[in-house]
Symmetry: C2
Subunit: 132 residues, 2 copies
């Protein structure tokens, strides 16, 4: 059972934008898009992004410095994320595969260190781009 988060005004504006976007969005592109709504400064964007990431509504695609809405209906896996990234069209989608997430969540290496979080990014060509 997840906690219901009431998003603040800026958080909602920014989440809605990212959620409606087709792909990952970059912070300054978000800024540009929400200026008409009164959000004027980078920090306002980054603060909302930080919070949204923290509560699992969005994820950061680290290799792209971009943000995408959580595609797992319940956003339960904000600490265990996996993405598929097309290196040609830059399409990104979140992978939800219970075998994979179980495997990685239980993974422990020779050092005996136990992990509380992971992020996995797969790269390749999506079907469309492969057939070009």
């Amino acid at each position: 059972m997840q906690k219901e988060h009431n998003l603040s005004k800026n958080q909602k504006i920014i989440f809605d934008l990212i959620d409606k976007s087709r792909g990952p969005m970059k912070a300054y592109s978000i800024l540009f898009n929400v200026q008409k709504k009164g959000i004027k400064a980078p920090l306002q964007v980054y603060r909302a992004l930080d919070k949204l990431v923290e509560i699992g509504k969005i994820h950061k695609i680290e290799s792209r410095n971009a943000f995408i809405a959580c595609q797992n209906s319940s956003c339960q896996v904000s600490k265990a994320t996996a993405f598929s990234i097309c290196e040609s069209c830059e399409n990104v989608s979140e992978i939800s595969n219970s075998k994979l997430s179980k495997y990685l969540s239980n993974f422990s290496d020779s050092s005996g260190m136990k992990y509380s979080k992971y992020n996995l990014e797969f790269f390749g060509l999506c079907k469309k781009c492969k057939s070009k």
Copy 2:
């Protein structure tokens, strides 16, 4: 069998620095450290880093914007990387676990997309930090 790469002057200077460093190094910290050797501009650093990443001598830790020397003796896995990151002391080590790498290299999701590369970052507390 891997190709033997003869590093250029700048590449060698920068690789040696990263290789001797205890942890991941950031680009501008590298720049600062090699200025005495005549490398004066960010671009000189980034170009060497790009090449070193491309040939697998170093890896980028995406979540930290930092670079670490490949710890797999033969650098065969530059396209299939996994790291363990301590969120307290920021110690990073490369994970070489053949089961994990096999599992991930063969992974394919419901979209049928086949991946040519992946990068995995695990987060947690290392032994030292946990016991504090």
